[in-house]
C-alpha cells in the first residue's frame, strides 16, 4: 500500500437544517474542494455515507444525485455506504484503501444526514432498524436502550452502585459540552452541570436525557489523495497511517456488553498497521452516542484498563489540557451532534484540523497523532482510523 493523505476537510454546522441531505453535502464538499485547491473535475470517485435519506428526504440512490450536483466527471463512480452510525468512517476507510491500492489518486469521501427532518418517534423507529429486525426489534429495544443495558451490566460486573455510575457518566456529558462550547460548528455550544444531567428525564434507565446525543442534521466531506497528489494540494497533509474495521452482529451474539469486541479487533488492526500504541495517541474522537459509550470506548481502545475508565472524565484526564489522551475535543457526538451518516467524517475533520494546529481555543497542544473511533448498530460495526501530521 502506498502512503495516503487527507487534503481539504469541511463540515456544515451541526444542528437543525432546512437543507436536504444532498444540499448539505454539497456545502461540505465544495468547502473541502476549495481547501484542497482543486475542482470537481479532479475527483476520480465519490464515497458517500448516508443511512436514512430514504426516510428523511424521500431520497434513495443519493450518491448519483450528489455526484451530478457537484459536477464530478461521469467516469467517477459514486458509491453510497450504510453501516449505521459508523457509515462515514467506513466510506472514508474504503476511499483510503482504494487510493492506497493505487486504483485512484484523488477521491471525495464523507457523509450527510438529516435526522431532525423526522420527528422523534419516527427517528427512534428508523434508528432501531439497525438492530436485528426479526429478533431484537420486536422487544421495542431502542439505541439508548442498548447502551442503558450495557451501563447496568457494567455496574453489575464491576460492583458499582448505579447512582455512582450515573454521576461518573454525567461527568462525560459535562466534559463534552465544555469542549463543544468552544466549537462554532457544534449543535450545543453551552456548558452544563452534573446536576442538570442527573435532573434530566430518564430516556432508558439509567440513561438520562443529557446522557444521550441529540438528533442532528449535518454533512462533512474530506478529500483523500495519494501522498504525491496531496502535497500539491496542501502544505499540511494529514496522513492516514492505520485503519481497521470489524463486524459483530447483534447483542445476543456479543453478550458481554461491557466489551465491544469488534472495537478491540478493529483498533488492534489500526494500531498494528500504524506501528503505534494507545500511549502514542494525543487525541481521540470516539463514539460517545451515550455517556456510557465513551467509558466503554476509552477502555476498548486501550487508553484505560477494563473497568477503570469510568472516572476518567470526573478526574479531568480526558479533558482539554490533560497530559493524557484528550477525548472528543470537538464536543463529541453528545454535544457537537450526531447526524449519523456524517458523524465519522466530522470526527476526521476535527482530528485533521487539530493536527494542523487550526482548532483555536480548543487546540490540543502539540497534537501529532489522532484516533477516530466510530461504532454502528447494536455493536455490529466498528471502524478506526489513525491520522498523523507526518508520514
Amino acid at each position: 500500500m502506498r502512503e495516503v493523505a487527507i487534503a481539504g476537510v469541511a463540515m456544515t454546522k451541526f444542528g437543525i437544517s432546512e437543507d436536504t441531505c444532498i444540499e448539505m453535502f454539497g456545502q461540505a464538499a465544495t468547502g473541502a474542494l476549495v481547501k484542497s485547491d482543486i475542482e470537481p473535475k479532479d475527483i476520480e470517485a465519490l464515497f458517500l455515507g448516508n443511512c436514512l435519506g430514504d426516510f428523511e428526504d424521500g431520497q434513495a440512490h443519493m450518491g448519483a444525485h450528489i455526484h451530478t450536483a457537484l459536477g464530478l466527471p461521469m467516469a467517477a463512480p459514486a458509491f453510497r455506504f450504510e453501516n449505521a452510525c459508523a457509515t462515514a468512517t467506513v466510506a472514508i476507510r474504503q476511499a483510503a484503501l482504494m487510493v492506497g491500492a493505487g486504483i485512484y489518486d484523488v477521491v471525495l469521501a464523507g457523509g450527510t444526514e438529516r435526522v431532525a427532518a423526522m420527528d422523534t418517534p419516527m427517528a427512534t423507529r428508523t434508528f432501531a432498524m439497525a438492530s436485528n429486525s426479526c429478533y431484537s426489534a420486536p422487544t421495542g429495544i431502542t439505541f439508548p436502550g442498548v447502551f442503558a443495558m450495557a451501563a447496568h451490566m457494567y455496574a453489575g460486573k464491576y460492583g458499582m452502585d448505579i447512582s455512582s455510575l450515573s454521576e461518573y457518566m454525567a461527568h462525560v456529558s459535562v466534559k463534552n459540552h465544555f469542549h463543544a462550547s468552544m466549537n462554532p460548528k457544534a449543535q450545543f455550544q453551552k456548558e452544563i452541570s452534573v446536576e442538570k444531567v442527573l435532573e434530566s428525564f430518564m430516556v432508558a434507565d439509567p440513561l438520562h436525557f443529557l446522557d444521550c446525543c441529540p438528533f442532528s442534521d449535518g454533512a462533512s466531506a474530506v478529500v483523500i489523495a495519494s501522498k504525491e497528489k496531496a502535497v500539491q494540494m496542501t502544505d499540511k497533509p494529514v496522513y492516514i497511517i492505520g485503519t481497521g474495521q470489524a463486524a459483530g452482529g447483534p447483542v445476543i451474539n456479543n453478550p458481554d456488553m461491557t466489551r465491544i469486541k469488534p472495537r478491540e479487533v478493529a483498533s488492534a488492526m489500526a494500531y498494528k498497521e500504524a506501528g503505534v500504541t494507545p500511549g502514542d495517541i494525543d487525541l481521540c474522537e470516539l463514539h460517545d452516542c451515550f455517556t456510557i459509550a465513551e467509558i466503554l470506548a476509552i477502555e476498548g481502545l486501550g487508553f484505560y484498563e477494563f473497568g477503570k475508565g469510568y472516572d476518567a472524565a470526573k478526574k479531568g484526564e480526558t479533558r482539554l489540557g490533560s497530559d493524557r489522551t484528550v477525548i472528543n475535543p470537538s464536543g463529541g457526538l453528545k454535544a457537537k451532534g450526531h447526524p449519523i451518516g456524517a458523524t465519522g467524517a466530522a470526527q476526521v475533520t476535527e482530528i485533521v484540523e487539530q493536527l494542523r494546529g487550526e482548532s483555536k481555543e480548543r487546540q490540543v497542544e502539540g497534537a501529532r497523532t489522532g484516533l477516530v473511533d466510530t461504532l454502528g448498530g447494536e455493536f455490529g460495526t466498528v471502524c478506526n482510523l489513525i491520522l498523523r501530521s507526518y508520514a
Partner: protein
Amino acid sequence: MKHQHLFKDYQQGLENGELIGVYCKKCKTFSFHSSLSCSKCGSMDLVGKVSEKSGTLETFTVIRVAAEGLTPPFIVALVRTDSGFHVMGNLEGIDPSSASMDLLGKQVKISSKKVTRDRYSQGVTHCLSFTLDQ
C-alpha cells in the same frame, strides 16, 4: 446447501410453546436460532433443537422513550438461557418503576407473546417474554 433455520420456523416453535435454538453436532454447543454456523467451533453441521425455557437475567433497561407505535414504559432484558445462548425479550409481571439492579442474576422463565408491528416489520410476531422465577 445446508438446511437453514428460518425465522418462520422459530416463530412456529414459539407458537407451539417451544424455544428453538440450533445445536452443533460436532461440539454440542447451542447457538441462537438464526446462526448458520456454530458460535463456538464454526461448524455448519447444525440441527434445530428445543432449548430450555429458563435462564438468567444478565442485564435490562426500562424504555421510557419508545419508537413510533409503542407505549412506554416497558422493560427489555438480556437473558442467558440454561441451554447456553442469549436471547432478548421483555421482562413482564413487575412494575417498571420498581426495576432495579437487584434484577441482575435473577432466574427467569421464558415464554412468548404476540405483538403486532408496523409496516417495516415481519407483521404479527412472537416476541420473547420473561417472568421472574420465584
